[in-house]
């Protein structure tokens, strides 16, 4: 019997032949969606010498892996990747295509979507099937959630940040089919990657930090921002921020927490001088204790935390740092 629905695809990302965790997370969610549609899960993976590295995809739920493997594919090469993936999608007509909201995913997704003349939803925080088996792609907005659908065009495409979905429990007994994809080896004459440089960050990574301090526009100026950074230092916490802080240039884009940034799940989260916008708050999942410091008692952030301090963060933070330092000093001498 022919399936009513095409397969659910995940565009998988690798670095140095290792499957990136966001791809495995999406594989788990793809499996749930595919079960609802009674269809299969297929992974699309490009790289070099990847043949012996695809088992984690089967263990995570893939039924088939379309594998493009040649030396030109070792790194993300936009023009080659796009051409090959568009052709593959036209041939196999997937119902859904999911990509990670990574540097590659957020460039590749619109290039593929536009050429397939279909819609694309950015940085979803949930994906479910509605009563008509259409993919409801949820994004935070205006203090709530918007559900975006792509009712007519196929495939339905979405990008999702790392950490939105859990990595599925690997099933080592699962296996599947590897389907080699012939990808032309000629480079694009108009766009080429000359070099890819990965730097090792010297700050505490947000994703694995036990304590996360997030600062917002309430910092006021670079001096105010430095105080928030000092608070993070005092608590040995990772420092994150909201979009206005990135726009002001006080902190880099890499430290933005939320829907289009990083997902964190610390023991303790302290939001300083921020209003609790959904786009930011969805980035904090499963924190044990949440604290907000904001001068506006009516700020929506106070509906979303365990402890609230209504005060100007520029005045309050230095006092808090002093108390923390005094406490830590006591701990050491006792």
């Amino acid at each position: 019997m022919k399936n009513d629905y095409g397969p659910v695809w995940v565009i998988v990302e690798q670095r140095d032949c290792r499957i990136r965790s966001v791809s495995l997370q999406l594989m788990g969610q793809a499996q749930k969606l595919a079960a609802g549609l009674n269809t299969t899960v297929e992974a699309v993976l490009f790289g070099n010498l990847m043949e012996h590295h695809v088992q984690p995809l089967f263990a995570a739920g893939a039924d088939r892996v379309f594998l493009g493997s040649n030396p030109q594919l070792a790194f993300y090469e936009p023009e080659i990747y796009v051409r090959a993936m568009v052709r593959l999608a036209q041939e196999h007509e997937p119902e859904i295509i999911l990509l990670g909201s990574t540097a590659m995913g957020r460039e590749l997704a619109p290039l593929v979507a536009a050429r397939l003349q279909t819609g694309l939803t950015a940085h979803c925080i949930d994906l479910v099937l509605d009563e008509n088996n259409i993919l409801e792609q949820r994004i935070p907005a205006y203090g709530g959630l918007l559900s975006i659908i792509c009712p007519q065009k196929r495939p339905q495409m979405a990008t999702i940040a790392k950490g939105v979905f859990p990595i599925p429990e690997p099933d080592p007994n699962r296996s599947g089919e590897i389907i080699p994809v012939a990808v032309p080896e000629d480079m694009s004459p108009r766009l080429q990657t000359l070099e890819v440089v990965h730097e090792i960050p010297d700050e505490i990574p947000l994703e694995s930090a036990a304590i996360v301090i997030a600062g917002g526009a309430g910092a006021g100026d670079p001096d105010g921002w430095r105080q928030i950074a000092d608070l993070a230092d005092a608590l040995n916490a990772a420092l994150g921020c909201t979009r206005p802080v990135v726009d002001e240039g006080w902190a880099p884009l890499e430290s933005m927490i939320g829907q289009s940034g990083r997902m964190v799940s610390p023991e303790l989260y302290i939001g300083v001088g921020l209003s609790g916008e959904q786009q930011h708050m969805v980035g904090i999942t499963g924190a044990k204790v949440m604290v907000a410091i904001n001068n506006d008692a009516k700020s929506p952030v106070f509906d979303q935390v365990d402890y609230g301090v209504v005060d100007d963060c520029r005045e309050f933070v230095p006092v808090l740092i002093e108390k923390i330092k005094a406490y830590q000093k006591n701990q050491v001498t006792c």
Partner: protein
């Protein structure tokens, strides 16, 4: 002459955008009077064009699609130093998603004629999709580099640019014409100067509607958008807040105690 198009968007002032909320009862948007401003990252896109104009013989077109009110941000681009301003404004364009927006902008760019460089901000502060730049490139069949943080080499038609990665960068070689979406690391946008504002008053803004672009109504606006909003839901917090009271000192002491008691500090 180097022809540059900068795509710009009028967005609700990000400082005040938090005032737009979903009415928990009616599930519709409660719109307040939030003024439209130039999208923050589009200022970096404009500055990238202005920096090139300082080095080369260049002509800058600021292009925007939006309601008639968006004219203000096109005028701002003229004041910053753009030579020409074009506003795509028509009822038929309303309700466009990223795909239909990119299609409309791409059609306008094709109408402008041969261009060498198209700059876009990496994302808009309201939509945050990041799709418009790369989708414009797709419709025009041009190469694109997203998240450009440095233009390393631009003396020939073969550019080298650094594109930002979460930690690190990609060095890309790209043949013009091409589309670039820019990050705020690329440059520091200069503020408006009075003489620019005066000069901009003399420049006229071209208004193009659907007939000027010669596109079918089904291809633009809500009708041309593959995606639609199907639902608007409010979210409820599961946490009950304990607001600490007292003097600043007392609040700090209490907060520290709570954190120590919870075992997280």
């Amino acid at each position: 002459m180097m022809k540059i198009v900068v795509c710009v968007k009028a967005v609700p002032d990000p400082q005040q955008a938090c005032n737009i909320r979903i009415d928990p009862v009616t599930k519709t948007l409660m719109r307040c009077e939030v003024p439209l401003v130039l999208n923050p990252l589009d200022k970096n896109a404009m500055q990238a064009a202005l920096d090139l104009k300082e080095q080369f013989d260049a002509h800058i077109t600021a292009l925007s699609m939006g309601p008639p009110d968006a004219e203000g941000i096109v005028r701002e681009c003229l004041a910053l130093g753009a030579d020409q301003g074009i506003l795509l404004s028509d009822r038929a364009f309303a309700g466009a998603d990223a795909y239909a927006t990119a299609y409309t902008l791409a059609t306008a760019i094709a109408k402008i004629g041969p261009v060498h460089v198209i700059f876009c901000g990496m994302a808009s502060s309201d939509g945050s999709t990041e799709w418009v730049g790369p989708e414009i490139a797709s419709f025009l069949d041009l190469p694109v580099v997203t998240m450009v943080e440095e233009i390393v080499e631009c003396r020939s038609l073969q550019w080298k640019v650094k594109a930002s990665l979460a930690h690190g960068y990609r060095l890309m070689q790209v043949q013009l014409p091409a589309v670039f979406t820019v990050t705020r690391e690329l440059n520091t946008p200069r503020a408006l100067v009075f003489s620019g504002i005066i000069k901009a008053r003399k420049k006229s803004i071209v208004r193009w509607g659907i007939d000027d672009l010669g596109v079918p109504a089904e291809a633009v606006g809500l009708k041309g958008s593959p995606t639609i909003v199907s639902k608007l839901t409010t979210t409820q917090s599961k946490r009950e807040v304990n607001i600490l009271t007292g003097t600043r000192e007392e609040k700090a002491t209490q907060l520290l105690q709570k954190l120590v008691d919870s075992g997280v500090v």
